[in-house]
Amino acid sequence: MHRTGELYGHFQTLDQQKETATLGMWVFLVTEILFFGGLFLAYTINRHAFPTSFGIAGNMLDLSLGFGNTVVLIASSFTMAMSVYCAQTSQKKWIPVWLIATLALGTVFLGIKFVEYKQKFDHHLIPGYHFDITYCSNNPAACGLSGQELADEQKEVREAIDAERDYAKQQSFSDPGETGIAAVNAHAQLYFSLYFGMTGLHALHMVIGAGLLLWLISQSLRGRFDANYNTPVENIGLYWHFVDIVWIFLFPLLYLINRHLA
């Protein structure tokens, strides 16, 4: 394809070229909104159907790790915005600095996510044969639970079992698999399937974003971006901010909305 500097032959100006690319990026992000939207919808419907079991499962997430990750990701959106600012103002030396900061924060996010996943694995909260919502209340030492925390968790588990039993009675279920602890475990597994599905897809987007950042860093170190041409910085920035927005919704929905019951 014919190209003059950064300008491709089928565009008249760099501005026109950038606007076209940005419009295309936004159209892609709209498909991503709907992509994640489907998962949020599945979460909403199932949470509405099994509020107590979803509540107890959600309260088993580590709030401080979730909060820390939210702060890290918001900070990385800021550093990304700063790299776009430095590109727009032709501060070429600062572009890779802010990009590296963004990549570092993104890596910290994924590291914390790994710690969380490992913790869920140790606590028998991975959906499947070994899933057991009562594992931590029965083995408090293995989960580092004691005192008030342990009492709270045991109380929550009991309440969830009662709620499922009442529901089964009201619906006149007779199968033991549909009531009590079996029902809590079934519905808590539904919650954790959605938790791993949604945060896993989000983490996959972060990994792809980290790859894109590596490429941006190498290009910016060669001095490719300035006030005239910075389309890749701007558009990868849009992608990064979008991934941040997804987390802005995942955090309250997965970690927070049942905390007041704990």
Binding site: G37, H48, S77, A81, Y85, Q171, S174, I248, F249
Partner: protein
Amino acid sequence: MLVANHSEHIVSWKLYLVVLTALLIGTVGTVQAAKIDLGPWNIVLALGIAVTKMTLVILFFMHGKYSPRRIKLVIVCGFFWLAIMLSLTVADYSTRHQEPSRSQLQELACTRSLNV
């Protein structure tokens, strides 16, 4: 060398800092609000804060406020389509009869076999 005519708006780093501060305050706020029992309003407040944070990110970090109108149209369309998906599916689920459970099906099967 071709030079762009710089019609784009450059958001100042000071504004980015203000947005960052607002987002962090929102994050702390949503955690604190979640610990208070507000009944059904907990979820409303949590989503309200999340929507506010998202709006700040789109308007300033993503330059939505300074974008040409066709890009604004694409952004609005995206949320409009999301609203269609959410509202019609929720409307369906909230008005549909629940599927029979395992035990209800078994009961049904028993009644039928007795009748035969």
